[in-house]
Assembly symmetry: C2
Homo-oligomer: 277 residues x 2
């Protein structure tokens, strides 16, 4: 609104950079296990990247109501293509960062201030997207129709709800840690870009991120041990020739192992980089 502290950054610019970040993340390859331009789901990712633009603009304009704008972004993303969920985790990072117009300190403050009403909207978003994540709400099934009511009854804020999963979900951890990994990856991008150009910078930063922590989507789907194996392999392949990384990509794709939480953090890092002055 008029008294938004970062009003010099245009909301429409924030939103365009959000779509651009999502599209750049999807366009880089090889990113072992995840969607790249030759992946059959690439088209879904493009449609989703564009569809969430109005919601990101709304978040940037208001600078609050994270739950509402997150739900609208997820709903638009799911409506825009037939492949179900594509960017739930990415949007859980991009919406607060967009509301803060790329200012990480402000994003940290915004998520801490997220309300019970935001949590109820989040539960509605959960129903829109058929996703597999660590059980964010613990014993509470967020997909159930009663989740929003339960959240209101217990006075659970969106910050409470998301950070409940911070120990086992890479995206949730970013809410708890003030987007620390997003900022770390943003810094990694710069030297890679100077040395090797944009595509390889994104692909290498992906490996850097994957080597730093087990991917939580892999852990949910295949167990913690598999997630740690993926992490070790990523660490071993940093600096390897592209064809070796591409071979690992084929292996993971064949087994359906997609480190999606890592891609979410990467997209947020690209977004922060695009919004740098």
């Amino acid at each position: 609104m008029g008294n938004h502290p970062c009003r010099t950054v245009d909301p429409a610019r924030v939103a365009a950079c959000g779509s651009l970040a999502i599209l750049l993340e999807a366009s880089a390859s090889p990113k072992p296990g995840n969607v790249g331009p030759r992946h059959p789901r690439f088209g879904h990712f493009v449609a989703s990247a564009l569809a969430c633009r109005p919601a990101l603009e709304g978040a940037a304009r208001e600078g609050r109501n994270l739950g509402l704008w997150f739900r609208r972004a997820v709903e638009a993303s799911v409506r825009a293509q037939p492949g179900g969920n594509t960017h739930f985790g990415t949007l859980l990072l991009l919406v607060p960062l967009a509301a803060a117009r790329g200012d990480r300190g402000r994003a940290r403050a915004l998520v801490k201030r997220a309300t019970v009403a935001d949590a109820a909207e989040f539960c509605r978003a959960f129903r829109a997207a058929p996703i597999r994540v660590a059980p964010l709400g613990g014993p509470l099934d967020l997909r159930s129709l009663r989740a929003a009511a339960a959240v209101r009854r217990t006075g659970t804020t969106l910050y409470d709800l998301v950070t409940l999963a911070a120990g086992r979900d890479r995206v949730a951890k970013e809410w708890a840690d003030g987007f620390a990994e997003c900022a770390w990856a943003r810094e990694r991008l710069a030297p890679h870009i100077r040395r090797r150009g944009w595509n390889e910078a994104v692909a290498r930063t992906y490996l850097d991120l994957l080597a730093r922590a087990p991917d939580s989507l892999v852990a949910v789907k295949f167990g913690e041990a598999e997630a740690r194996k993926v992490q070790r392999k990523a660490a071993a392949l940093r600096g390897a020739p592209v064809d070796r990384i591409a071979r690992w990509d084929s292996e993971l794709a064949e087994r359906g192992i997609n480190p999606g939480a890592t891609a979410d953090v990467l997209a947020a890092a690209i977004f922060l980089r695009l919004l740098e002055p």
Copy 2:
């Protein structure tokens, strides 16, 4: 500048939408003969899309010096990837449209006012990109080191230089016609998007454009008759099932027939659409 008549549109937003438009054009498929996500050159197109962002922002901020910003955009695009020219024609449309911040009437006025100095810069851009286009300068070889001097001596403005080729170059024709085809294609996108989603909207609008006029890049490389054949085939395939269009894509790709001028107009149409209020 401070007195820019469309200062309410943020230059950084214009630039982000420019990169996004180029990337969306490249990401849509099938677009018979042209680069899509599975094309070996896709990575070059992504790098180029991002690299021209600062120059587009400069154009939007200044609202003049089209030649300078065009040269900077082309140079950045060529430097960002190893594949030579990717977006010469696209940028010849996007730079004036960016300088006008998406206002077509203003873009028309800006190109008409382009100067001799702009023409000299254009000649320098020509040397940066190894391109094949209709011989824009007629008897004058624009690639020669003396072209800029000749342009100055003869008092040729950039508008003169570009519109010399309006009869045989689809992009040049847009300068002469006030971006009429770009605006036409922008209007075509809307109903397609509503009915079929983003990817198919872009791919269908590509066919619509290709059916309207012979592609001038095809004409330069393969002759006017081949360009007309491509045009007729595009007209026949409008509304056809996607797999038939994809088959034609493979055929054209195999023969190296790329209707690049049509893709340039399409990218500009997407850009105009992204900048709509």
